[in-house]
């Protein structure tokens, strides 16, 4: 009699227990394990989407172009500074100074080649100070791609100037190699 009275509650309770049992013991574990198995591929999809959105094709091409142009404007290695230094020597001469470059031993694998520079006014340079300032300005211009790390200027009793500078010139090959690491 009591069972019969409880039957309307027992039947839905049994149904609920069956549904919950299926959910907790069959469905949920299956979902968990399959999601775990699927994760690597889904991670790959997410990673690909992230990479796709991070740098566009156009941005990558533009960066490549900039880097290429910069590399072309630089001496390639510390051993191939001569053409660049010759160019600078001519620029210095145009300001009626004489420049003597002396490359110094570069740090192994370093991207910057140290160079010592001795400057003397050329004969007939009656405005040595302003022209020296022009040369120094050119050294510090962005397109020069060099760093002026030391400068010493002397003036003797007769008003004759001499200058000595330490420069460092960017070299494309080692710097690119370091950047790629």
């Amino acid at each position: 009699m009591k069972i019969k009275a409880l039957l309307p509650f027992l039947v839905p309770a049994a149904c609920a227990a069956a549904l919950l049992g299926w959910r907790w013991t069959v469905f949920a574990p299956q979902v968990r394990s399959e999601r775990e198995a699927r994760r690597p591929l889904q991670d790959l999809e997410r990673e690909t989407a992230r990479l796709r959105g991070e740098i566009s094709e156009r941005q990558a091409a533009e960066m490549n172009r900039q880097a290429g142009a910069l590399a072309a404007a630089l001496p390639q290695t510390p051993d191939t500074l001569a053409p660049a230094l010759e160019g600078w020597r001519k620029r210095i001469a145009a300001e009626r100074w004489e420049g003597a470059f002396a490359p110094e031993p570069a740090e192994a694998g370093g991207g910057w080649a140290p160079v010592r520079l001795q400057l003397h006014p050329a004969a007939g340079n009656d405005r040595p100070w302003p022209s020296l300032l022009v040369i120094l300005d050119e050294f510090s211009a962005p397109e020069a791609h060099m760093g002026l790390t030391r400068l010493a200027i002397r003036a003797d009793e007769g008003g004759t100037y001499s200058a000595e500078a330490s420069l460092r010139l960017a070299c494309a090959v080692p710097l690119r190699a370091k950047s790629a690491q």
Binding site: F27, Q42, T48, A60, Q66, I153, A155, S179
Partner: protein, 469 residues
């Protein structure tokens, strides 16, 4: 003045309007006398009477079957007017509490005397006992057996009244102003006395054993005692009396109690009581099964609600499960599509990684070249220092150097000052001041400039750092 009205005028009860308008079977089981009739649209149909005495429930069962067979009909509603040794009536006092609290108090009282009783409490509207109740108590076992008998015959016991209920109704329907009235009836040697107010409000009720034929005098005495009690309790006299029983007792009572009272006497008509009982609603306070049925109704309602909630829960679980399953199927199909393009995805990822690495390397290369090019401090310092020199000072040496270790610039200025020592010191101090407070944020070495006398003036030497934060 006293008067005994003719029996025809006093037929009991005279219900003005039936309170119950449905169909049903009405039975009176009063002191072994069993009668039944069908009640339709407020009218009592032909009556069937059991030929013998009905004492036990087994006999009741048989009588009921016989009555149903004789009366026909398929009524399911069953009203019973009961006077039986198992159906007890007694007065209980309850504290003047809220109805629910008073009922709980009475429940506790009733529970002491019967197991799982089915009971009703009728409040007695007496003046001096405003919290007195007359309880009609049926033992649980008796009621359960009665219910079982009725349920087996698809009958629902909706009303179970004591004799006092239709008697009270008879009083309520009688004319008589605003004074209380008394009714007494004899059934099987038991006399039931009811005193009520117009409108059907019970003042009090009592029963006593007396045979109206053989003990007419005693009946009169008891009726008279009830009248005195009523006067004491209600503060007013009872002027109307209805007596249903043997005419000897009625005549005796009229002689003893009839002074200035209207006495109506008649033989007891169980049919009249049945008709009155049938007209009483199930919510009548004397209905012994009213509260039980209400509780059953509440229980049934809660049960239905509970079952509905349980199935709703199951449905919700099923819907949630189906929804999750559909979502999972969708996720699976999406994953299958992803699996199909996994090779191309891997190739694309490799390509994108290459592109990203190349772009990162390019960006780093440009940034390195830019960062390695030092700020143009060394190139600009000569022009700046030259602009600061006051008249009389001439530089002989200028040095500026990048200190990689300290990440700052160091400088040294050497020169000559013409003139006296005081002027020379002032000129050098002025130069120092301009350097220290200028845009290059020069910080001079401790001790400041060193001056050395020389022919025609002084030599000075000063040094320090630039942009050292």
């Amino acid at each position: 003045m006293s008067a005994i009205l003719p029996a025809a005028a006093a037929s009991v009860p005279p219900p003005p309007r039936p309170a119950v308008r449905g169909h049903g079977l009405v039975a009176a089981w009063v002191a072994g006398d069993f009668r039944a009739a069908v009640f339709r649209h407020g009218e009592l149909g032909p009556e069937w009477r059991a030929p013998g005495r009905v004492r036990t429930l087994e006999e009741f069962e048989g009588a009921l079957d016989a009555a149903r067979a004789a009366l026909g009909g398929h009524e399911t509603d069953f009203a019973l007017l009961l006077e039986h040794e198992q159906f007890l009536h007694r007065v209980e006092l309850a504290p003047s509490l809220a109805p629910a609290a008073a009922r709980a108090h009475l429940q506790a009282r009733v529970g002491r005397h019967a197991e799982r009783p089915v009971w009703a409490a009728e409040r007695m509207a007496a003046v001096r006992q405003d919290a007195a109740y007359v309880l009609h108590v049926l033992p649980g076992a008796f009621h359960a057996e009665l219910e079982q008998i009725l349920r087996a015959r698809r009958l629902q016991l909706t009303r179970l009244f004591p004799l006092s209920a239709p008697l009270l109704r008879a009083l309520g329907g009688a004319e008589g102003g605003d004074r209380p009235a008394l009714a007494a009836a004899e059934t099987g040697g038991i006399t039931t006395v009811v005193v009520g107010w117009p409108g059907g409000h019970l003042a009090f009720t009592r029963t006593f054993r007396a045979d109206w034929g053989a003990e007419a005098e005693r009946v009169s005495v008891e009726v008279n005692r009830s009248l005195l009690y009523a006067k004491q309790q209600l503060g007013t006299t009872v002027e109307r009396i209805r007596l249903f029983g043997d005419e000897r007792a009625i005549a005796d009572a009229a002689a003893r109690c009839g002074e200035n009272r209207e006495i109506v006497g008649a033989p007891l008509s169980l049919r009249g009581l049945m008709e009155a009982a049938a007209a009483l609603p199930s919510s009548h306070p004397a209905n012994a099964v009213g509260e039980h049925r209400r509780r059953q109704g509440r229980g049934r309602f809660l049960r239905v609600v509970g079952i509905a909630a349980a199935w709703a829960g199951v449905a919700a679980l099923a819907v949630a499960g189906a929804s999750d399953w559909a979502a999972w199927q969708n996720e699976t199909s999406l994953f299958q599509a992803l699996q199909a393009r996994a090779p191309s995805l891997r190739a694309e990822q490799a390509q994108l990684l290459l592109r990203q690495r190349a772009a990162t390397a390019d960006r780093r290369f440009v940034a390195q070249v830019d960062a390695g090019r030092l700020p143009p401090v060394a190139a600009r310092f000569p022009a700046y220092a030259g602009s600061l020199l006051p008249a009389g000072i001439r530089l002989t040496e200028l040095r500026v150097e990048w200190q990689e270790a300290g990440r700052h610039w160091s400088f040294r200025l050497a020169g000559t000052v013409r003139g006296g020592e005081e002027d020379g010191r002032a000129a050098v101090a002025g130069l120092q001041d301009k350097l220290e407070h200028g845009p290059l944020r020069a910080h001079l070495a401790e001790g400041g400039a060193v001056l050395t006398a020389q022919p025609g003036g002084f030599a000075f030497n000063l040094g320090g750092t630039l942009f050292e934060d």
